[in-house]
């Protein structure tokens, strides 16, 4: 135990040391710069951009990354991400776009004339940095990443500047006019929020912004904030009417990647949020198709996040972003080509991220299956999606799976499942003023209401106002249905004029649970006057409808997030065709990636370790052989005990000579010469007398933990028919010797042989030994009889060999035999224990202080029992510190003191010696004499 404690302590110290010296992430320090740029249609507007430059950790020239912030943010919003990238060895430049943060200028919505020109000049600036790797003079190796507003600038810049080598636009738009006027319906709440974020700078940041008195604003500032006046005018016009004007559409499209996407040559990773009612998955779809059409490598990811909340998956996105830049910026290829050798990363895209641990299995995301060069123009190569993976069994937290395919399936899927909807034509009304309005995703607070979990966990809150919605429902699904993309359905609308409807596809679990609106998304539909039938493309989502659930198509006349006609109107809405076409991507069916490697490796390793532990722990049979050898050579065994201590005479007639076996092979040995003490040792040599010698001890040594020897070079032998007294004061080593006879204690040296067999733990020969050492040992809850019966059964020997009756007679317990042992007195237990030792009438009986606790008649009876027992050719060894006891019971005696043999021989011889030495005829005197000698 001490060793174990020491080991634990050592490990703890080691762990602490490792913890302390473990290399921490390299420190990254940002350098604040104000970079002056010139932009505008006439290249005549001077703007100062507030930037922070993070030199790369590590040596040499590194690729650079421009990190753009979202709308309403500043360079500080992306600082944490910039530090992470810089630690990974990228030179990172963050900046506040014009009109944001401490940069000057006005917001022009990522216009090619303004923001794009700014970023091109930032690239020029990067090209001059000594740490930045160059593809050519003035052409740094550079990637751009950013979310939302920042994602659009990445796309726009890549389209206008061929020096950009890779981009990762996130949750951004393809066509801003389509994003704000989907199907011509004004997304008023989002638009309002979007433009309000370009409000004038508060002058103070953080908490101080709340407490500092507001700065007085000029009329222009109050009206337009930091927007370019042209943008401001445009917004105010369309927001007032809720109708897009051609000029507005033109201006918004000028700021939209869709117009220039064909010029993008930088490999693009498009990351779009599944919870995004502002820039929907359809926006990324448009970007992906437009960019891929030009032959540029594109991959698409749908993650659990977006402008409406969701998890955000920061770690997962970081990992994929880093992976993308590693592939396309670190690779040796020139700008724009970014060839990655095919087949890098063999692991599939299906990776599991444990939500709690945040360990997206590192590296597995890098599987680019098709090589970049081979993808034919127009195909988007990789597609990864985040899906709910249920709860982690350990933490009970949500986990997300990331299945993927080699080819982006678009929004129409790779397969389609027709679902039959049913429902009559229904009357719906558009309320005057569009109020009250149905609720789906509410911009800005969507994250609070419905963003907490993915599907199934915390359904998006959705509310349809009565009288405003037409509902068509499917039968319960026979099997689960995974919708990936945009479902379509054809409806018929009868309306007095133009009608605006909002289409939603609910997941209806049962009659009790409120229906779920996946991701809280709706699609506005504008039905032109007299159109009659229209095909409705429902929002792009990835949603699993469980078996037994129904699909419910709802068409409402209002939605809080959108501008609707103020005039009251009534429509009749029905299905033109009952089929709802549901796109699916069976290839995505989350690859059950098989058990994690360690689930089979760990048990195998553990079993191997266990086998090793057992194999090395096996006590070799050596102690016998080894110690025998030791005995032969050890002077201790050879001399001290026997000859050294007491001359010769006393022991001459030692058991060897006198015993019935004396005539055996022993006699021929050195014993025959009459040196008894030495004889015992000598006999240890090959133990020739073997199977007939009940007990033979040679050179037996056992030390306590503290090094003091409990038994020290003990050697003697016992012959058949003897009743041997093992005599010695307390602490002489009698009990330890007896324990070693029973195989309970491993000797340090020396050997015990019983009937010629060396004693090892569990040696079969122990079955010929009956023992009672250091008190009885019974199961207290069992009766005396049960104890003996079960004990005998535990030996596995035939019941008839037990001689139970004889043993019970010796115990003499009478009716008490049926009582639980815990009710016994000390003497009763003692007798029962001696009876147990005699079960099976063993050839060698070893009793440790057998008369302790017995009353005088019982003691006398016990003496007789023992003598009788030995008379039948069996051997009895009795240890005692009571001299009288030994004198009256034993034929032979071995005297021990402090672990050593002091004397051995027949009791009578010992007494003779005593008389010879002038003592009285009492063993006690002899004993004291012997001990006195030694001490």
């Amino acid at each position: 135990m001490k060793r174990a404690a020491a080991l634990v302590a050592a490990l703890a110290v080691l762990a602490a040391a490792v913890w302390l010296v473990w290399p921490s992430a390299p420190a990254v320090r940002g350098q604040e710069q104000r970079i002056a740029v010139v932009d505008g249609p006439g290249d005549d507007q001077r703007v100062e951009l507030d930037t922070t430059y993070f030199p790369p950790a590590g040596e040499g020239r590194a690729p650079a990354v421009l990190l753009a912030h979202g709308f309403g943010g500043s360079k500080d919003s992306v600082r944490a991400q910039a530090v992470r990238l810089a630690r990974q060895g990228y030179a990172v430049l963050t900046w506040s776009a014009r009109g944001f943060g401490r940069s000057t200028g006005q917001i022009a919505l990522n216009s090619p004339d303004y923001e794009v020109k700014d970023v091109e000049q930032l690239i020029d600036w990067l090209a001059k940095r000594p740490e930045v790797r160059l593809d050519a003079a003035g052409d740094p190796r550079v990637g751009i990443a950013g979310g939302s507003y920042g994602g659009a600038i990445a796309l726009m810049t890549a389209a206008h500047d061929a020096r950009v080598d890779a981009i990762v636009p996130m949750i951004t738009w393809s066509d801003l006019s389509e994003a704000l006027f989907p199907n011509g319906v004004f997304k008023k709440m989002w638009a309002g929020l979007f433009f309000s974020r370009g409000a004038p700078a508060a002058g103070a940041e953080g908490l101080r912004a709340l407490t500092a008195p507001p700065r007085p604003l000029s009329a222009e500032e109050a009206r337009c904030g930091r927007f370019l006046p042209a943008v401001c005018e445009m917004y105010q016009r369309v927001a007032a009417t809720g109708r897009p004007t051609p000029e507005a559409v033109e201006m918004l499209r000028a700021s939209s990647p869709v117009t220039v996407a064909g010029r993008i040559k930088a490999p693009t990773l498009l990351i779009q949020g599944q919870r995004d009612s502002l820039f929907t998955l359809a926006q990324a779809d448009a970007n992906a198709k437009a960019i891929a059409a030009a032959g540029t490598p594109v991959e698409v990811m749908w993650f659990d996040g977006g402008h409406d909340g969701g998890n955000g998956e920061v770690d997962w996105l970081d990992e994929r972003l880093l992976d993308w830049f590693d592939r396309h910026l670190r690779a040796a290829a020139g700008p724009g080509t970014a060839v990655v050798s095919p087949g890098t990363g063999t692991a599939g895209r299906g990776t599991t991220e444990t939500g709690s641990a945040g360990t997206g299995t590192a590296g597995t995301g890098s599987a680019e299956t098709g090589s970049v060069g081979t993808g034919s123009p127009g195909t988007v190569q990789g597609f990864t999606i985040t899906r709910d993976g249920g709860r982690d069994p350990g933490t009970r937290q949500r986990i997300r799976l990331h299945p993927g395919t080699d080819r982006y399936p678009g929004l129409t899927g790779t397969a389609a499942t027709p679902i039959q909807l049913a429902g009559p034509d229904q009357n719906v009304a558009n309320p005057p003023g569009g109020n009250p309005a149905s609720i789906s995703a509410v911009p800005g607070i969507g994250g609070l209401l419905g963003g907490g979990g993915a599907q199934g966990g915390n359904p998006g809150v959705s509310l349809d106002m009565p009288g405003q919605s037409a509902v068509f429902e499917s039968a319960p699904l026979a099997e689960p249905l995974q919708l990936t993309g945009t479902a379509t359905v054809k409806i018929r609308v009868r309306a007095p004029g133009e009608a605006t409807l909002f289409a939603k596809l609910y997941d209806v679990a049962d009659a009790v649970t409120p229906p779920t609106l996946p991701a809280g998304l709706v699609t506005p539909v504008r039905v032109p006057a007299g159109a009659g039938e229209v095909t409705v493309t429902l929002p792009a989502v990835d949603h699993r409808f469980a078996a037994g659930h129904r699909l419910r198509l709802a068409l409402t006349t209002t939605d809080m997030g959108y501008a609707t006609p103020a005039e009251p109107a009534g429509y009749v809405v029905g299905l033109a065709a009952p089929t709802l076409t549901v796109p699916t991507v069976p290839e995505l069916a989350a690859p059950p990636s098989g058990p994690v490697w360690w689930t089979w490796a760990l048990p195998l390793a553990a079993v191997a370790v266990a086998a090793l532990v057992l194999a090395t722990g096996r006590r070799t049979a050596a102690p016998s052989g080894r110690s025998v050898k030791g005995d032969r050579t050890s002077p201790n065994a050879a001399g001290t005990n026997g000859t050294g201590t007491h001359g010769t005479g006393a022991n001459t007639a030692g058991p060897n000579g006198a015993g019935p076996n004396g005539a055996g092979p022993n006699g021929a040995g050195p014993n025959g010469a009459g040196l008894n003490g030495a004889g015992a040792n000598g006999a240890a040599a090959p133990g020739a007398g073997g199977a007939e010698v009940p007990l033979e001890i040679a050179g037996l040594t056992k030390a306590y933990r503290n090094g003091e020897k409990a038994v020290d070079g003990l050697s003697f032998r016992v012959e058949k028919g003897q009743v041997l007294g093992l005599l010695g004061p307390n602490g002489a080593g009698k009990t330890t010797t007896m324990r070693m006879m029973m195989g309970l204690i491993h000797p340090d040296a020396g050997q015990i042989r019983i009937f010629g067999d060396p004693v090892t733990p569990g040696a079969p020969v122990l079955s010929r030994l009956g023992s009672f050492v250091e008190g009885p040992g019974f199961l207290p809850h069992l009766s005396g009889r049960d104890n003996l019966t079960l004990y005998w059964q535990a030996t596995g020997r035939p019941p008839q060999d037990a001689h139970m009756a004889e043993a019970l007679e010796i115990a003499g317990l009478g009716s008490a035999l049926e009582r639980a042992v815990r009710t016994y007195s000390q003497g009763m237990r003692q007798r029962l224990a001696i009876a147990q030792a005699m079960l099976g009438l063993p050839d060698l009986l070893v009793l440790d202080e057998p008369t302790n606790g017995l009353d005088p008649p019982q003691i006398r009876e016990m003496r007789e029992v023992l003598k009788r027992y030995a008379r039948d050719g069996r051997t009895v060894i009795v240890s005692s510190h009571l001299l009288a006891e030994v004198e009256q019971t034993c034929s032979h005696v071995v005297v021990m003191h402090r672990g050593r043999l002091v004397s051995a021989g027949p009791v009578s011889d010992l007494l003779d010696t005593a008389r010879h030495n002038g003592h009285g005829p009492r063993l006690e005197d002899v004993f004291l004499d012997l001990i006195g000698d030694k001490s």
Partner: protein, 285 residues
Amino acid sequence: MTVHSGGAPGYAARRTLPLRVEIVRQFKRRRTLVMFGLLLALPWILVIAFQLGPQNTGQQNALRLSDLATQSGLNFAAFALSVSASFLLVVAVALFCGDTVASEASWSSLRYLLAAPVPRDRLLRQKLVVALGYSAAAVICLPVMALVAGTLVFGWNDIQVPGTGETIPAFDVLPRFGIVIGYALVSQLTVAALAFLLSTVTDSPLGAVGGAVGLVIVSTILQAVEALGSLREFLPTFWNTAWMDALAPTLDWGGMTKGAAVSVSYAAILIAVAFRRFRRRDVVS
């Protein structure tokens, strides 16, 4: 080693300490009977508690396991298992496995068994088998009794899944329930093995049981330390609730596989160490 037939006539090491004998030796102990009595009574105590408690009148959209417990016998059994698996069953398993050798040592009967002689490896093996058998019986008897009690009192209805509230037909769940119990058994292996190891190194039965329970407590505390990240997956208690996956609408083996792997691994090593130590140990009790 010299091979002597050596033993007394009729003696064979492979016949020593038969399982039947060890089972009888352990069964009549008060400790065994009390533990089983408690495990069998607990479901009825829970039933009474649910009956006495204020009734849920309003249709609340409650999807916690405890709210669903009265829905059906199966739900009730799942609830009973979930409330007892984390501690009561741990104590039961630790008791049966931790007490087995240590109590023999404390009664001094160990040395007589070893001198009988029951070879040390065999003694440990037989004791381990019986202790695991009693542990298994304990882990099985609680949910089975809960199933009986719940079915008698709450009826035989389909099971309602916590969290989503989906229902699964009762007969579909019955085999799943077998998986739950099986996994509950496997997940207790670490505790069993540690208790057994401690049992071979100490003479105090309470020390062995307490040590194993202590491990569970420490592991549960460490499990709450988010900073440990994925290291926690290798804590012996981390996957103890993974059996809930077997009651989900779609059976997910992932967590249970991991939990079983961790549990079996710890158990293999701990038991190997127990054998190694016991072989070399000087029995002085």
